[in-house]
Symmetry: C2
């Protein structure tokens, strides 16, 4: 029985996945992320953000699930900042970008669609 | 066919594992680690260390596999510092401790025996 990765959202862990040993370290260590590969071929990254204001581009549509901490997010083309906390998520369109600001270590799962 | 986690060492990823969504952040962000659970019940953590000198205690014997970067290590009770680079590993006895110093972001897999 295979679970939809997003359905795992309430769960504390992903099961039956592959995880890369090598992490991705961006923005001088303000963002550390690790790729997880699901059985159905989909992907997600498990990330940690340290206090900073960062800009991310997207190729594919992404669902950002906040696991710990909180963040303010501004989508490209918008002047509005929205706040998201642990347990909440937001969707970023494909071929877009978003600004994210954190004041405390904040953890996320980024699901790529 | 199940692979021994250490045999995976040359491999770039662990397959068929569980990974916790929540990371562990220690020493004010100088150490970020994430727990991986293997099918045979064994565990490992995937970690990132940022430039610092840190001391870790061990309960169980551990094999520290360096994935990226390099580190200097001093086992408790020894005055000797040894250097380990990506692809190398060292073993820390149970109920012991070690000091580890990194000058650059360094990544490891810690296998718990």
């Amino acid at each position: 029985m295979y679970m939809d990765p997003l359905a795992d959202q309430m769960m504390l862990q992903f099961n039956g996945v592959s995880v890369l040993k090598k992490a991705n370290i961006y923005f001088d260590g303000k963002c550390i992320s690790r790729l997880v590969l699901f059985q159905d071929g989909s992907r997600a990254t498990l990330g940690v953000l340290f206090p900073s204001k960062l800009n991310f581009d997207t190729k594919r549509r992404e669902t950002m699930e906040i696991v710990a901490g909180s963040c303010r997010v501004r989508m490209s083309g918008s002047d509005e900042w929205s706040t998201y906390e642990a347990g909440e998520r937001f969707v970023v369109p494909e071929n877009s970008s978003f600004e994210i600001e954190v004041q405390e270590p904040t953890e996320y799962v980024c699901h790529y669609h």
